[in-house]
Symmetry: C2
Subunit: 175 residues, 2 copies
DNA sequence: CGCTCACATTCCTATACTGACATGTCAAAA
DNA sequence: TTTTGACATGTCAGTATAGGAATGTGAGCG
C-alpha cells in the first residue's frame, strides 16, 4: 500500500491532478516505486473516498486537481514515523546468483560482468540526473537528493560486488 | 515469475517435495525471494503441467518428490543466460525518504538512524549465517556465499548512507 | 474550419501475492 | 490408548500490479 502514501506525499507538497502525479512519478519516484496509470487513478479515487484527499478544483478536459486534507497529512505523518517500512528483499538479479552453478563457469562470469556493467550504467544515469536537474532548496528536492545519494552508493556497492564475484568464479575455474 | 525458476533451480540440485522446497526457501532464498506455501504448491503443479518437472516418487503422507526434466534444465539455463533480470526498484524504506520534509527534522533524523540500525542488524544477522552454516564446496553453497557477500556489502552501504543522511538532516537544522 | 497532438480519465483482463483456513497422515510420547 | 506435534498438501478470498484498450477534451496550427 505504499502507492497510497506516495500519492499523499506528493499531494502534501502541492495539489495536482492524476495526470500531473503520473508525470511526477515517472520522473522522481519511479526509481523506488514505479506505478502505472490504472493503479494511480484507482488509488486517487480510494483516497478521496477515505477523505484523505479531496477534489479541490476542476479544469478543462475533466481535469481534477486533488488536495490533501488534514486527515491525509495525519495519515502521512503516521506512515512516516510509526509504520515499520517493509525491507522487501525481492531481488530477481540476486536470485539467479544462487543458481549460477547450473551453467558453465564462463557463462556465470558473463552474467556477473553484465550485472556489473548494468550497475555502473545505472550509477552513471543517476549521476546524470544529479547534474542536470535544477535542484532547489525545497524540502522535496533536499530529500530527493538524499534518496539519490542512496542510489549512487548502493549501485556502486553492487557493481563492486559483481566484479569481485566474477573474479571469484573465474578464479575457481583456473585454480 | 521468478518463483517458477527458483523452484527449477532448487530441483536442478536434487529432487525434493513441496515441503522440502518450502524449508529450503525459508533458509536460503527467503532473503532474495520470499514465497508462501500456497504459491509454492500452485507453482509446482503448473511446472508439472508444463513438463518442466515430474513427480518422481511418492512417499508416506502423500509426499510427492519432484524431479527436474530435461526441458526444465533447458528452461533454467535459458532463464539464467538469456532473460534479462528485472532490477526491480521497489523500495518502501527509500520511498519514505522522499517525504521526510513533511515531518519534523528531529523525526526525520530518528527515521534515518533507525534505518541505519536496521541495516547494521541485518548485516550482523547475515554474518551470523555466514559463520554458523556448515558450508560445503558444492556449487550451490559456493553461489549462496556469493549472494550472501552481496547482502553484506549492500547492507553496509545502506547503513553508511543512512548515517550520513541523518547527519545531513541534523546539519541543516543546526546551520 | 478541420486536423493533430497532448491532455486526462476510465475500464478491462490477467497474473502474482498474501494470509488464512482446511484436510489429512504418521510417529512417538504420555 | 490418546494425544501431540511434525509432516504434507490443497483451497480460497482479497488485494496489488502490469499493461493496454477505449473514450473523450482542448489548444494550436495550417
Amino acid at each position: 500500500m505504499s502507492l497510497r502514501h506516495a500519492l499523499l506525499g506528493l499531494l502534501a507538497d502541492h495539489p495536482a491532478s492524476g495526470y500531473d502525479l503520473l508525470k511526477r512519478f515517472d520522473t522522481s519516484l519511479a526509481f523506488v516505486w514505479p506505478a502505472t496509470q490504472s493503479q494511480l487513478y484507482g488509488e486517487l479515487k480510494r483516497l478521496a473516498d477515505a477523505g484523505l484527499i479531496e477534489a479541490a478544483a476542476t479544469g478543462p478536459r475533466r481535469r481534477t486537481d486533488y488536495a490533501i486534507t488534514e486527515a491525509g497529512r495525519a495519515e502521512l505523518a503516521h506512515w512516516l514515523t510509526e509504520v515499520e517500512p517493509e525491507h522487501s528483499r525481492r531481488n530477481d538479479a540476486l536470485l539467479r546468483v544462487f543458481f549460477l552453478w547450473a551453467v558453465d563457469p564462463a557463462q556465470a562470469v558473463d552474467y556477473l560482468e553484465r550485472e556489473a556493467r548494468l550497475y555502473r550504467q545505472f550509477g552513471e544515469a543517476l549521476r546524470q540526473v544529479a547534474d542536470t536537474v535544477a535542484w532547489d532548496e525545497s524540502g522535496f528536492d533536499r530529500c530527493a537528493r538524499l534518496a539519490l545519494e542512496n542510489g549512487l552508493r548502493v549501485s556502486e556497492a553492487n557493481a563492486a560486488w559483481a566484479e569481485w564475484a566474477a573474479g571469484e568464479v573465474a578464479g575457481d575455474t583456473d585454480g
